[in-house]
Amino acid sequence: MAKRSFDIAVIGAGHAGVEAARAAVAAGGSVALVTSRPETMGQMSCNPAIGGVAKGQLVREIDALGGLMARATDRASIQFRMLNTSKGPAVRSPRSQSDRFRYVRSLTQLVNEIPGLTVVSATATAIETREGRVRAVRTDRGGTLEVKAAVLAAGTFLNGLIRLGEKQIPAGRAGDSPSLALAESLKQLGLGVHRFKTGTPPRIDRNTVNFGALTEQTGDEPSYRFAHFHRCESLPQVSCWHTRTSSLTRALVLDNLKLSSMYGGWVEGTGPRYCPSIEDKFVRFPQRDRHHLFLEPEGLDSDEMYLNGLSNSLPLDVQTKLVNSVEGLESARIIRPGYAIEYDCYDPAELELSLESRIVRGLYLAGQVNGTSGYEEAAGQGLAAGLNAALSLRGEPPVIFGRAQSYLGVMIDDLVTHGADEPYRLFSSRAEFRLSLRQDNADIRLSPLAHSHGLITGEQFRRVRRRQDEVAKLIELVRRTRVGAERINPLLRRCGSTETSESPTVEKVLRRPEIGAPGLFSHLGGDFAGFPSAVIAQVEMEIKYEGYMTRERSRQEQATRLERVRIPARLDYSSLQSLSTESRQRLASHRPSSLGQASRIPGLRPDDISALMVELSRRKNK
């Protein structure tokens, strides 16, 4: 087949790959999206849900950067919930139960709308390099693509191996072939390979479930949208169902432990601690026999239900008994069994913060291949990798997302600075500036950057600015307006707050811990009515938690200052006599790109950082 040339080849059209393709095209590259099966674009291999704590914030960031995930989620959402509503605005997180099939359809449509993108239906088999740089991607049926850069986003497919009891089946995930040739090629290129593992629970036929014995979980009003700039109609909303394991479940698991792939000694890969299999749960917490399980619909037109919480790698007959030991599932039928999968991924500590490999120049890695797990994590990295690949071909510096700026920045920095010794997932507690990294202000945080790199349009940018003005206006109103005691006391009484005899400013009322902004503004009505909830949340943070925001901002500034002190890539650490030998070794192996990044290397002391700072400024002054 004829040779074709592109600026960039993106390998894999999963959550990472599609975002990489979109961002690379938006930043001006000619892009080939290479995927073995175009009909599975953005397929959810596991849980049919997008968002959640920290992940929901990330989806909003991806959207603020012009990504596709939020739009596809809105179009496929069949149940919406805002998590953590009883807590503060900073940790409220949107989560959507998504129709798997509609998600793939919507995403495929969005990908097809990307102007000038070439989708190549083929399996990549090798990456060719010249002098340590990517020059081509070989495929099985799409010929060789001559490229200047490549984004590797092949998910769990590289040397993928499904485990079910003692059975092992080479596969990328259930129903897909593994990528063996490509995995071999990457190994030859010298990338540091890890072996990770993950698992998925069985899917149940909804017609065989006794819903009468389960607890229904309905969602919120489906008015929320993940996407900032695009609105779509809501789909019909459905419920999830809650149940629990029983003492019989526990006995079954513990009695059959040696038949499980994981506990029978077959699995070598490291699995995620936050997503334990049912075997893990009973082994690690033997005193408990009742664990939560959730039945989640996989789609409006599908009979499959995802049995969240029962991930396992037991043989099929044991899985059936296991499912039937659960309340309400006594006669339930398994449509697809759960399984564990092992796959190759690559040490993210070998990457630059741009996600470019230090081993192979022009090769960017994103998603599961970097040792992360989760659709949102993959999508975020894909976006960063695609953008930076395109920028580097234009000779422009990469975009480094800061920890003070986004969850995306937190994740990339964590990966590159610390590597991954187990599958990495975002949590809100990983973000030291999380009061600022909220779902309600993702657009405000990221739109300037998005706009300057062509990821969003001028009109979209102006819309964000207008909303920012609304925030300022409402803050001003809150500070200025006084309310009479007779008007505010009924609300104070209702919220269990002491009544007032004066006419306090709205600001003063809002500062009371018992009073929430949405309730206050709707009680006041008039000028305070009609603001979007994102604006209200921002005002609430700025007023109610002003001291905390001020403190966090000053920490952000400090951190940013450290981040700005760049460390030359070729700095000879052995010449830095004022540092201890051990610190010099640590620095030399991590090669941090800034003082900020250096300060996060485990084992380095504040002392070492000050010494390094002195050395750097001495060099600069020379």
């Binding site: 920290a54 807590k87 503060g88 940790v91 936050y274 334990p276 009061l435 811990p513 201890s580």
Partner: protein, 461 residues
């Protein structure tokens, strides 16, 4: 001495690279001078400095041996006692050697010279202690205690420094930090796993946990003032109008002429400070400019300085001249400064003798004749003692202002934390407090809240 396992493990793996040498005893004339070498090559370097290398090589650690120290030209420098230490069981945690040679600068300089010639480097100020800290032999609080111990001039100061040196502060601070992290773990669990965690922690529960830490901080801070005073000395400021004889009193108390005494009012423009020991208490006596408004700019600055000193003093010697209306002056002074720890002095009683009943509450003295001086010294000592919280036995491990300040900041932050706030806000408070606490010991915390969540709760629906 308590040791942190991590740090000790680290120390045994590493050294700080080079070998340093310095005089470890006081500079100047003395019977013995101690020259210390520390670092991986210290034994080898010392071996080259002695005649009879075999014997030195065979010497086992912590045993003293008499040896001849040889200079560059092969000449004998001194007959000295040598002792080896094997890391990590040494002060710095590294291999080291001490030479106890004859006193005087000439000898010790020649010894240091010889060490330098054989490849050692001059230690920078405080480098031995810094190395000890870096090698995990001391935490930062202990390192500061060493500094205080070395500089202790009173028995009380020495005791306070020793209390700091046994690592008590580090241990207590670390325990407090751990319990706060535990609370944070609970909060984070509820934030990151809302579907699994069920109920939030009640405000009452949070409040009682925060109160626990607050009580511990208060207890640490209680003895702190006293311990600090013992280490750095109580500040006793001499205040009063110009020309009442403050500087004369200052010189008399010190037994030297540090401050300039003139008949022109306003001679002492800024504060002069000197140390003395009264009844076993270390006192930092400060002579200030007079407290009258004046037009001279430099003097004005001196007056400002006096106010500053008075504000931060532990005891004020309020001096007034006998014969004038000292009761009124006193009430004016108190109205302006309201200082609780006053010692009232009537000066120049040789010129204007004051009958005892009139002097009620004042101590009549004369700098010229020395009249009343013993009584004044006793009064100062008593005031210092009560300012430092009496002579109760309780000593606090706090040995530096830095530590005290950090503890106070932590206390204020904890006080301001509101249990009714949402969990992420309380977590932010805890973070701030923990930053202060880790700064005290200089230990990097490094623990992962997520790790502790995974080990305590069954996660993963």
């Amino acid at each position: 001495m308590r040791q942190d396992e991590n740090l000790t493990a680290r120390a045994s793996k590493t050294g700080s690279g080079d070998t340093v040498v310095a005089l470890s005893s006081a500079r100047g004339v003395g019977a013995v001078a101690v020259v210390r070498l520390s670092g991986p090559d210290s034994w080898a370097i010392a071996r080259k400095m002695v005649a009879g290398r075999k014997k030195f090589g065979a010497l086992s650690p912590r045993k003293m041996a008499l040896c001849n120290l040889i200079g560059g030209g092969g000449e004998l420098i001194d007959r000295a006692l040598a002792v080896k230490f094997a890391g990590p069981a040494s002060y710095t945690g590294e291999d080291s050697v001490e030479f106890h040679c004859h006193g005087g600068l000439a000898v010790s300089s020649a010894v240091i010279d010889a060490a330098l010639r054989h490849g050692a480097r001059s230690a920078t100020a405080g480098e031995f202690t810094r190395r000890a800290f870096l090698n995990g032999r001391l935490d930062l609080a202990q390192a500061e205690a060493v500094d205080s111990l070395v500089h202790a001039r009173t028995d009380e100061g020495r005791r306070a420094a020793l209390a700091g040196l046994d690592g008590g502060l580090g241990t207590q601070v670390e325990a407090m930090r751990r319990s706060l992290i535990e609370l944070k773990t609970e909060l984070e669990y509820r934030i990151d796993f809302p579907d699994e965690a069920g109920q939030g922690l009640s405000a009452e529960k949070i409040e009682s946990l925060l109160d626990d830490s607050l009580a511990k901080l208060a207890a640490l801070l209680q003895g702190a003032r006293r311990a600090l005073l013992a280490c750095r000395g109580a500040v006793v400021v001499i205040a009063g109008a110009p020309n009442v004889g403050k500087s004369s009193l200052f010189n008399t108390l010190l037994g030297s002429n540090r401050a300039i005494v003139t008949a022109t009012p306003g001679t002492t423009r800024d504060a002069v400070e000197s140390e003395l020991v009264l009844d076993g208490h270390l006192v930092r006596l400060v002579d200030t400019a007079g407290l009258r408004e004046s037009s001279g700019e430099a003097e004005q600055m001196g007056v400002e300085y006096s106010r500053h000193y008075i504000a931060s003093s532990d005891v004020v010697l309020f001096v007034h001249e006998a014969g004038s209306d000292f009761r009124r002056a006193e009430s004016e002074f108190l109205a302006e400064y309201g200082h609780g720890k006053l010692v009232r002095v009537l000066s120049k009683v040789d010129l204007n003798p004051v009958p005892d009943d009139e002097a009620e509450g004042f101590i009549p003295v004369s700098a010229k004749t020395g009249q009343g001086m013993p009584r004044l010294r006793r009064a100062i000592a008593t005031a210092v003692e009560s300012a430092t919280g009496g002579s109760g036995e309780k000593t606090s491990p706090v040995t530096s202002l830095r530590q005290q300040k950090l503890l106070e900041e932590a206390r204020e932050l904890l006080r301001a934390a509101c249990p009714a706030n949402p969990p992420e806000i309380i977590a932010a408070d805890i973070d701030e407090v923990c930053t202060r606490l880790s700064e005290i010991t200089g230990r990097i915390s490094g623990e992962d809240v997520l790790d502790s969540i995974f080990s305590r709760f069954c996660i993963g629906k």
